[in-house]
Amino acid sequence: MNDSVNLQLTRRRFIKGVIFSGAAATSGAGVYLAANAQSGNGGMERLITLTINGRTRRVDVPPTETLANTLRYRLNLTGTKIGCNRGECGACTVLIDGVPNYACSVLTHNVKTKQVTSIEGVKSEDGTLHAVQQAFIAENAPQCGFCTPGQVMSAVALLANNPRPTKAEAAQAMSGNLCRCGAYEHYLNGVLRASGQIA
């Protein structure tokens, strides 16, 4: 199954999930409002176990809270950025079982059985940066840097599935990550560098 199919399925799953829970996740405000209205209702267990960056975390999460909010505001993993909070920009991209997903468009309760990797979990435990991170530094790829964690996550997922992508394949795979500074070419060069195609 390729990345784009997974992304579509994930967004569809998210929408179905929102409909099921009665929340309207059209904006950040909507999610918060829904979270408040739903908290404590519906008989759903709030205290859940998540596996984030290889570590098991017990977290008290309302059933309508998004993964982006849980990561940032409950687990203090602020490397995941919220640029739009409505599935448009990709700044909040994380890996769920290795597949890139917009964390703003995934309900935390839906990843209880999944392996979640955020930007904080990309480098090795000894602190060695991932090849993508090293390549992005070498290419001076980030500009303002706000989209960069999401770009890193998409690039990591791409190279895991396609270790030597063409530039066009890389552009396609990362096209869900908006960069308002327009550093696309630098990120693509970073992907090619990380895959050993340029030095």
Binding site: N36, K81, N85, Q133, F136, G145, K167, R180, G182
Partner: protein, 811 residues
């Protein structure tokens, strides 16, 4: 010989960006922090009649509301943090609610009842100028400068909102592409003899044009967090600038700037919308003070669309006269700006672009900026210049064609050089080498070779374009501050903000170069006021490279002078007998006799006075004075105001060449090649230069082909508040490798040779793309920015619906 300038390095914040460890304003928490949310206007125009927050205030966890009554009144066309008497656009903040959680604050917003009184509204400037047209404010539709006679005949300058209407004949003429005879303007200037210039012309081109404003869409919305301790306000804000915020933000908070600590490690984009303190900062700081709690006001994506500012639009007309030899003899320009609710039109900057790009022998500019009930407008990457570049390029192509001249040759004949001028005042420039840039670009792009190729390939047609981008690129008179520590390291204190251009780091290299300190022995000190940062310019207007390589250079020169004085004092002779190198100051005639920088710093502390910051120059800014006071006694201090002599504006100029393939069946265009060459003096940091060039090209594509405000004219409602609907270019829209170069001739008024280039990178790309679209369609001039796919396909179908009447801010 350069050691730092012109070489690549990794700015110190890059690793934190790829690991997610660097902090933006919204990433900070504080013990006891509470959360505020905004209630915004659903109306494009009106006033608040009443607010009933009783039910919200009874909710558990709600701490209070904050309204316009809690802040000093702001009269139109000021942009108030919170509106009451003048609600002037959909999405304008009306009040804020604070609660112990963001969820409760948001729920409380839903329980507040606001009664409004509606007023007429307008989203199209020409509609407002028409007889009987609605005004954005009850007082009128434009700002007029006034001058009254004060005491003892002293003139008092002011401004007031007035209602200006044009005769219907003038509106009709402009919409039909003719001069709006009988129209009233608020800005006018002329140089030369316009009539004589047109009389000399072998060809005259006359065209209307419209450019549509659009939001900055900074990916980090302008969330702020503030708290107060011991009378000081600690303020986490998203800003392009650092020290340039100090005085304005302190005024908003009604405190002495010495009691403000502004913290801004990284900023998620600004593009002109976050140069200085923005009105909404007043809410976080003052609400936090009232509640005596740390308070975070998080701004949503939709709210960022509303309050995050936008580029002004234009409806205009131009007449260009060209002599047989290609020289532009006369230009007559009319610009009606769409100033949104703030009236921030940039017509004069648009006219300035015309002067630099074509150096007309005679020119007249007439402009007026009209308020509309759309979002606040302000500086956006090359404001005025870049949108003018986009619509002007095809018009210039038409003029070149009229006299049978190659389009690049036409630009070359009219190119500015070091003796050229900019603006209506025909002010000088520090240097300019645009002909060299055009020649280099032509060769790299293969202009002549590509022109010789066939244009048509089935339903697809190739188009070639050339464009020029320009922006003033440098300031003077700011301060530099460096410290040599007793560890021998060079600490470069920078009040420059980190907006993602890395100019904060590039400019610090000037101090390292002057003092000949290896980069790994340098540390940039920045990011929060209490790190003792000097007075710096705002990070806007492509100025930082010129402005702050100079400030860091002069601070380093001051440090060098002190090093030599200390050496002479301790080791004999005069300061002139000493040199620096290898992190030492030593006798030129006897290099073994000297002091290491570490030793000299220790001696500076012992000597005190000017050597370690107890004394400082009289002419440095109070912000720098405070910074030096904070550093006093901690090392050898180099501090100086940039008094480097010189005059004229340092220009940043870029030329772009674009090749596209346009599908006549679908209107879709693909960029096949883009080449850009900069005239920005010495390139300070090559890798980052590439970043600016590529990012600017993406922005140019957005300006020329995609991005625009869309409002429902019947209800004044914005239709594209999200990113997808607004269409900033994505990876798939700009899948072309930018080829780039630089003339790389040092600017004589900068010791390190550099000028800025950030903004023209967009203008040149937009102009080159617009020129290429026109070329692909046999010279058809759309006169619109953006020229979207629907406009192209409608033109090909013989339907002028999408481009007629100079309509703006609508479908």
């Amino acid at each position: 010989m350069s050691t730092h300038i012109g070489f690549d390095f990794t700015p110190p914040d890059v690793p934190g960006k790829v690991t997610g460890e660097i902090k933006y304003a919204e990433d900070y928490k504080r013990e006891g922090m509470v959360f505020a949310r905004l209630l915004t206007s659903p109306l494009p125009s009106g006033r608040v009649v009443g607010i009933d927050a009783r039910e919200a205030l009874r909710m558990d966890g709600v701490l209070g509301i904050f309204t316009a009554d809690d802040l000093p009144p702001v009269a139109p066309p000021g942009n108030p943090a919170l509106a009451s008497e003048y609600v002037s656009f959909v999405g304008q903040p009306i009040l804020a609610v604070a609660a112990v959680t963001e969820e409760i604050a948001e729920s409380a917003i839903q329980k507040i009842r606001v009664d409004f009184e509606r007023r007429p509204f307008v989203v199209d400037p020409l509609e407002s100028l028409s007889p009987g047209g609605a005004n954005a404010y009850p007082e009128g539709n434009t700002l007029v400068r006034t001058q009254e006679e004060g005491p003892e005949g002293t003139p008092i300058s002011g401004a007031e909102i007035r209602d200006i209407k044009w005769p219907q004949s003038a509106i009709d003429a402009l919409r039909a592409g003719k001069e709006p005879v009988g129209a009233e303007f608020t800005t006018e200037w002329t140089f030369g003899d316009l009539d004589a210039g047109f009389a000399e012309a072998a060809a005259i081109v006359e065209e209307p044009f419209v450019t549509i404003g659009y939001p900055h869409h900074s990916l980090e919305s302008r969330t702020c967090m503030a708290y107060w301790e011991n009378g000081k306000c600690y303020f986490h804000g998203s800003s392009q600038s650092q020290s340039a915020n100090d005085n304005g933000l302190a005024r908003m908070l009604d405190i002495d700037p010495a009691n403000l600590v502004f913290i801004n490690e990284a900023t998620g984009g600004g593009f002109g919308s976050k140069i200085g303190p923005y009105p909404y900062m007043a809410i976080s700081g003052n609400f936090a003070k009232r509640l005596n709690r740390p308070l975070q006001l998080r701004i949503t994506r939709e709210q960022e669309f509303y309050i995050g500012s936008a580029r002004s639009g234009m409806q205009g007309w131009i007449r260009m006269g060209v002599k047989a030899n290609g020289k532009v003899s006369a230009i007559d320009l009319v610009v009606v700006n769409d100033g949104g609710m703030t009236g921030a039109g940039s017509g004069n900057s648009s006219a300035q672009h015309v002067t630099v790009a074509y150096q007309p022998e005679n020119m007249r500019f007439r402009g007026i900026s009209i308020y509309t009930n759309t979002t606040p407008r302000g500086a956006q990457r090359g404001p005025g210049q870049n949108e003018m570049a986009a619509v002007l390029a095809p018009i210039a192509d038409k003029a070149a064609k009229a006299i049978g001249m190659d389009r690049v040759a036409f630009r070359r004949i009219n190119a500015i050089d070091s003796d050229g001028f900019q603006g209506g005042g025909q002010g000088p420039v520090t240097s300019a080498f645009v002909r060299e840039a055009l020649d280099q670009g032509m060769r790299t792009f293969g202009w002549e070779e590509k022109n010789a190729l066939a244009k048509q390939n089935g339903s697809k047609v190739r188009g070639l374009g050339v464009g020029i981008g320009y922006h003033g690129a440098g300031g003077r008179g700011y301060d530099g501050l460096v410290r040599i520590g007793t560890d021998g390291k060079l600490y470069i204190h920078s009040g420059v903000g980190n907006l993602g251009t890395y100019s904060y780091a590039g400019t610090c290299r000037a101090a390292a170069e002057a003092l000949q300190v290896p980069w790994e022995r340098c540390e940039i000190v920045r990011g929060r006021t209490d790190k003792h940062l000097p007075h710096s310019s705002g990070q806007g207007g492509s100025n930082t490279i010129f402005t702050h390589t100079r400030t860091n250079w002069v601070a380093a020169q001051d440090a060098i002078a002190k090093l030599k004085e200390i050496a002479a004092q301790d080791l004999g002779g005069t300061p002139e007998d000493y040199s620096i190198g290898d992190e030492r100051v030593f006798a030129t005639a006897e290099p073994s006799r000297g002091l290491s920088y570490a030793q000299a710093a220790a001696r500076a502390i012992e000597l005190g006075g000017k050597f370690s910051g107890q004394e400082y120059p009289d002419d440095i800014n109070p912000i720098t004075q405070r910074a030096v006071q904070g550093l006093a006694g901690s090392g050898l201090i180099g501090v100086a105001k940039d008094n480097i002599p010189g005059e004229g504006q340092p220009p940043g100029i870029l030329v772009g060449f674009c090749e596209i393939e346009l599908d006549k069946d679908t209107g879709k265009l693909e960029i096949l090649d883009y080449t850009a060459v900069a005239d920005c003096g010495t390139v300070v940091h090559p890798k980052n230069f590439e970043n600016a060039m590529r990012g600017g090209a993406v922005w140019g594509v957005g300006l020329a082909a995609f991005e625009r405000h869309v409002y429902d004219p019947q209800n004044g409602l914005p239709a594209n508040t999200g990113l997808y609907q607004s269409k900033p270019p994505t990876y798939l829209d700009v899948n072309v490798e930018t080829k780039m170069g630089a003339v790389n001739i040092p600017d004589p008024q900068n010791p390190t040779g550099g000028r800025g280039i950030g903004e023209p990178t967009q203008g040149a790309a937009a102009a080159a793309l617009a020129s290429a679209i026109s070329d692909a369609l046999d010279g058809h001039v759309f006169n619109t920015a953006p020229t979207t796919t629907d406009m192209i396909i409608n033109h090909l179908a013989g339907n002028d619906y999408s481009t007629k009447y100079l309509k703006t801010n609508t479908f």
